[in-house]
């Protein structure tokens, strides 16, 4: 976006190049969002007649315990972002030191990202059940069972850890290693000659040098937590047990598609839209700084 030479324009061609994209976005993004806002002021089952009810859905929402549970659960996921960031950048820094087999590690840890949330959700739903393989191991060593997907407080933290920390690790390693690769190696050599150890080098050289990548990573994680969790939760816990792993996004699905309260679920969507707008503003500000 940097070539602004003169004021001459390229005529109709750019609009023709953009036409397919903009037509699709108008139909499948803008129209749905606008309709969604309108629907949030109505009572509608998703089919048949609808009734204008003003702000009633929003009033119901504010009084709805499930809505607040979903906000609380989403906030809990956000709390895993710092952990994810620290773990990922630390392991990337380990691998950068030229640990033998680092390429193999990087590739193997990427596999979960490759398989995607649906497959990983189902895989963990098998692995983590009470009678599953992991509990077999845990019982062998401790004699007790950890009810990963049954005890509410463990279930939500399992989802948070797996989704935010574990499932992003492979992606993050490739990402941070690429960013660290851009650092001039003579800086590291100089740090070494100065007698700086791993931690000092990490805080004085690595982290400042990959600051932009780090900020992008945090924004990316916010996007994942607010806007990309549905598939994993749907296949791992389906929001349960009870409503313990119910997030804002998952709540929209349940109220809209299982309970057929589309008008009401649209009000939840508007809240989600608001959060995404905030994230997007952060993202755009970051990019402006990057381009500057």
């Amino acid at each position: 976006m940097s070539h602004r030479r003169g004021l001459e324009r390229d005529g109709a061609a750019p609009y023709i190049f953009l036409a397919p994209l903009l037509a699709l976005l108008a139909a499948f993004m803008i129209y749905p969002v606008v309709m969604n806002v309108i629907t949030s002021f109505t009572e509608w089952k998703g089919y048949g007649p609808w009734k204008w009810i003003g702000l009633a859905n929003y009033r119901t929402m504010i009084a709805d315990g499930q809505f607040w549970t979903s906000i609380k659960n989403t906030a809990l996921m956000v709390l895993y972002i710092p952990l994810s960031t620290i773990v990922t950048i630390l392991i990337a820094a380990f691998l950068r030191e030229g640990i033998g087999g680092w390429k193999a590690y990087r590739a193997i840890l990427y596999i979960p990202n490759l398989l995607g949330y649906v497959l990983m959700g189902v895989i963990f739903s098998i692995y983590l059940r009470d009678e599953g393989a992991l509990n077999m191991l845990i019982r062998y060593f401790t004699g007790s069972t950890v009810r990963f997907l049954i005890t509410p407080i463990i279930a939500i933290n399992t989802v948070g850890f797996l989704l935010v920390v574990f499932l992003h690790l492979g992606f993050g390693l490739i990402y941070f290693l690429a960013a660290m690769n851009g650092i001039d190696s003579s800086i590291y050599e100089a740090a070494l000659i100065d007698g700086a150890g791993f931690w000092r080098t990490m805080f004085k050289v690595t982290i400042p040098s990959v600051r932009f990548a780090l900020e992008f990573w945090v924004v990316f994680n916010f996007i994942e937590v607010f806007a990309r969790m549905f598939s994993f939760i749907h296949t791992l816990t389906q929001g349960g047990p009870g409503y313990s792993t119910f997030t804002l996004e998952y709540g929209i699905f349940i109220t809209g598609f299982s309970k057929f309260k589309v008008g009401y679920s649209s009000a939840w969507s508007v809240v989600l839209f608001f959060f995404c707008a905030l994230i997007s503003i952060a993202q755009i500000r970051l990019m402006k700084r990057r381009d500057a």
């Binding site: 499948f28 640990i99 990427y110 398989l115 497959l119 189902v122 749907h234 296949t235």
Partner: protein, 279 residues
């Protein structure tokens, strides 16, 4: 490659041990699924963890035929490539327009596209599936492909835009002096030069569409049309389905993404950083 390292030999061993442990922990769930898929149900019940005593392929037969996994894989292998090809063309055109052309409202339109790249699918799902049914495309490949392209194109466009922006403007000017039209410049000069990024974009599109759940779930309601991803999600919800059969279905579903990974590992590595790291 040999790098300046601040690790002494002791630290090196400790880190190596930690990494090995991490890899084992993250491979264990996958190993578990593969080993479960080879066990008869009564063996899995008493021995979910260890290697199968009497490996059987019965679960695969059941998952592939009765569980329709072969059918679902064929569906994905039809819809996804068509979707990716169209997506790439649309993103290249739009990325070139944003990256190298001058026109009114370029920046606001670009920011809007960027904003849309982070929309949650659940925000759109109800209305998108309504719209698809309104134009009579429910239970059609075309319907799901349209929904996929629209949803994933903003990010793809962003990636292509950053790539085209970083290409030297002199290329466009030289072609223009030679009298080439805008269309010729894009298709004969710029697009061929952008091929490395186009390959990366294709991988990104493939992964996004292959793993997509909510739209395909709502648009492809007929069982015979399901994609692998929808098929797996539905099997998971099927009450009383035996773990070894579900595991076999998972292994079948894993095969295509793993194959793509083995073939295009370098591209995938590049795809992760596309658009996000300067340079």
């Amino acid at each position: 490659m040999r790098k300046a390292s601040s690790f002494g030999p002791g630290t090196r061993i400790a880190v190596q041990a930690f990494m090995l442990l991490l890899v084992v922990a993250s491979v264990l769930p996958l190993y578990n699924v593969v080993s479960a898929s080879l066990k008869p149900i009564n063996e899995y019940t008493i021995n979910p963890l260890l290697l199968p005593q009497a490996p059987t392929l019965e679960n695969y037969k059941y998952a592939a035929i009765s569980g329709h996994l072969l059918r679902f894989t064929a569906n994905s292998l039809t819809f996804v490539p068509i979707g990716v090809a169209t997506y790439v063309v649309i993103c290249v055109m739009a990325g070139y327009a944003f990256g190298k052309m001058r026109f009114a409202f370029r920046r606001p339109i670009f920011l809007l596209v960027l904003f849309m790249s982070i929309f949650p699918q659940l925000l759109l799902a109800t209305q998108v599936s309504k719209l698809i049914s309104l134009i009579h495309l429910t239970n059609t490949g075309l319907g799901v492909i349209l929904a996929w392209i629209s949803y994933f194109a903003p990010f793809g466009t962003y990636i292509m835009t950053t790539y085209f922006t970083d290409m030297p403007y002199e290329l466009v000017e030289a072609a223009r002096i030679d009298g080439a039209s805008q269309y010729r410049i894009l298709w004969s000069v710029m697009a061929p030069m952008a091929m490395p990024m186009v390959a990366t974009l294709s991988i990104i599109g493939f992964q996004s569409m292959w793993n997509e759940l909510p739209f395909s779930m709502l648009i492809l309601q007929q069982e015979s049309l399901r994609t692998v991803t929808v098929g797996i999600a539905v099997l998971r919800g099927q009450y009383g389905l035996r773990v070894p059969i579900l595991s076999a279905a998972l292994v079948i579903a894993m095969s295509v993404p793993l194959l793509v990974f083995l073939l295009f590992q370098r591209r995938i590595t590049l795809g992760v950083t596309a658009g996000a790291i300067k340079g």
